[in-house]
Point group: C2
Chain length 416, copies 2
């Protein structure tokens, strides 16, 4: 009998009716003959409410206590889901992370799973029960509650599926799967049938908020295929799987837009070993997350360093950079706000050429100025003015024929 | 260094300000040089809200899942209290029942504590932290969450104090202690300085809702003195302690009124062994809690059995009794509603005479009819019409001079 692990997020369990609907979905799988494990998040706004409660007490809660507090959200959901299933005649049992020995390190609020003792889960599955597991949480060796950070319930999903050697690992959402672009911005965006872990990692970091990177990394590490699908219908969604030769036939899998970016340009930076480390250590210490970094040598012994940050961090980053400049004679800093990043992602880029050129041409044809370009093995990104973001996304989506069924994109063999 | 265990109930931790106030109280004790453990309940109406949530799912939740759900209430409080203390500069750490191995049997919703592994608590106390423990909950040997039933947080208080061999066990409430009668009904009711476990047990079951019986029984078993005191001031409250010789000098310690009672009178009950057992087994099986029972032989081979129940159970009890009558020829049943029970309690009754007579005279003097009388070693109760309850309570309170400082009540030596 095969094992299915299915995960439902907070909006899918937001009220009693939705809890019943998810439960029915799991029971359906059980009736079809599978052993079923269900991972759930906290109901709707519960986590936000708990965070607000903590804020009434202190603006700087200890992370241990913060985790102890937040983990109650998922504990509420698992018990209600188990009750709902039992009310429908399906034997069920709920487990917190502590109850099934989901041991993490002690990095509270962003703990990493070390091991899961699956014996208890297997025993209950064997007895015919559906097992409901609290997502997003773990326990330290010492029994303290931890949480797994943003997207933590998906990490739980993948970890349980890996530990149980599950046959299916399903992430239920309110969309039909992963799309070639955000359908709200690109009307002819198309659901992708399958995407590689690496492509998904690039797409997630580029703003396609379906699966958090840590869950995808975990799935890649343990080679767990994830089926991202809708809880509202029975259509096949998107399979996130290990890369295959055949995938390289498709040059570009998807396009993404990330908004609300600002660019910081440091000039006359002393071009000596350790300088970049020093700059980004200082910025990291101020809790500012840096997006892309570009460094070029300008004159002998001097370099230009550019990087992008979230618009929300601009005040903090200004303070840090101005201090840096004051410590190095001649170094200056400039800021440019209201930027966006359009990107195309595809493992096929490794073997096909002309991708960058085609993207740049599409943007140039519409008079869109490119401020910066960054690339990875399977991604090309352009920083442009934010106001042009949605148009740019549609243009490149069309330039690579992403609205059409795959296999039709044309490109020459070779590197970008 | 002495160990103090202090418990704050749901109304004392109902919001952020109240949580800060309780935390300050515990920090005060820590600063005074004590090692401090704090037991807390769920905030205000949290438990009711969780119950309402479960009801949206099913009217018959499994008890295991119900406990898994309800226990989140206390977990929220402990983390917030720890945060509040840390914000005030006091190192603190919170523990759920599972985290300190508070193992109970597996009788969900009314579990009994079997043992507590206090090593973790002692280690944290030694390091100078205040330890905050979730009241009302436990875990089975298998790690399932249990709850301890009504008054469960007080059971936790006493259990922790017993396990730690604490020097002080303090139950903080919004009243100054145990009173000779309910001050809302009897204006000259007086705070009692000390009361024995047995007296407290009688008073609690008679409607003085300060401490639930199970906590008092637990305290009696392990001889843990409980200090019931106000969280709003620093006055000495009431000590609940083991009975001492000196206590017998006081004939009556307190008077109580229990309202909303109904009396069931079964007549022509076959007077043979096992008949009472059969009747009360049937009633118990219907989840009806019986208060007092009186049985008298009326004629040869026939008896009259009377008992009182909560008014809320009258519909259920009617159905059960009418069925019983239909099974035994000649047996009839009568019901009388809107009754109340006034009682006096005192260990001194064991050695003093005239107590019953003085109580009956006080009621008779005001023309109050007594429907039933029941007594225990240290208690006399009279069932009267509910409308006369408050007057009757004031009358007997005065008859035993309870409003005056103790030692002044006069009675002859001997039994009632």
């Amino acid at each position: 009998m095969s094992i299915v692990v299915m995960k439902f997020g907070g909006s899918s369990v937001a009220d009693a009716d939705k809890i019943r609907a998810c439960s029915a979905r799991a029971i359906e799988a059980r009736k079809a003959g599978h052993k079923v494990v269900m991972v759930v998040s906290a109901m709707g706004d519960t986590t936000d409410d708990l965070v607000a409660l903590a804020k009434q007490i202190t603006s700087t809660p200890s992370k241990r206590e913060y985790d102890q507090l937040l983990a109650t959200g998922e504990q509420v959901t698992i018990s209600l889901v188990a009750m709902a299933m039992e009310a429908m005649g399906q034997p069920a049992i709920s487990f917190t992370a502590g109850q099934i020995g989901m041991v993490t390190d002690d990095k509270h609020t962003k703990a990493r799973i070390k091991r899961i003792d699956v014996q208890k889960v297997l025993r209950e599955l064997k007895s015919g029960k559906i097992v409901i597991v609290a997502g997003f949480q773990g326990v330290t060796e010492d029994g303290a509650v931890t949480t797994l950070g943003r997207g933590g319930s998906n990490v739980t999903l993948v970890a349980i599926a890996a530990a149980l050697k599950a046959d299916m690992c399903e992430n239920y959402t309110d969309v039909d799967g992963i799309f070639t672009a955000d359908p709200r911005l690109v009307p002819n965006a198309r659901k992708i049938d399958q995407v590689s872990y690496d492509e998904m990692l690039e797409l997630a970091s580029l703003g396609a908020n379906v699966l958090h990177n840590r869950a995808v990394e975990f799935a890649k590490k343990y080679n767990v295929p994830i089926h991202v699908r809708s809880s509202l219908n029975h259509s096949k969604g998107t399979m996130i799987v290990a890369e295959s030769e055949e995938m390289e036939r498709i040059v570009v899998s998807g396009a993404a837009l990330k908004k609300q970016l600002a660019r910081v340009s440091l000039r006359n930076v002393p071009d000596r070993p350790g300088m970049a480390a020093r700059i980004f250590h200082t910025i990291g210490a101020a809790d500012i997350v840096v997006d892309d970094i570009i460094q070029t040598e300008t004159t002998n012994k001097l370099a230009a360093v550019s990087f992008t940050v979230d618009m929300g961090d601009i005040t903090d980053v200004k303070a840090v950079c101005e201090k840096l400049c004051s410590q190095h004679a001649g170094m200056t800093v400039e800021f440019k706000t209201d930027l966006a990043k359009v990107s195309v992602v595809g493992v096929g880029m490794r073997v096909h050429t002309g991708v960058a050129q085609r993207m740049f041409a599409a943007l140039a044809g519409a008079g869109i100025n490119i401020h910066n370009i960054t690339t990875s093995e399977i991604k090309i990104s352009c920083i442009i003015d934010q106001v042009q973001g949605p148009i740019a996304l549609r243009l490149i989506h069309d330039a690579f024929d992403l609205g059409k069924t795959p296999g039709k994109a044309k490109a020459k063999k070779g590197r970008k």
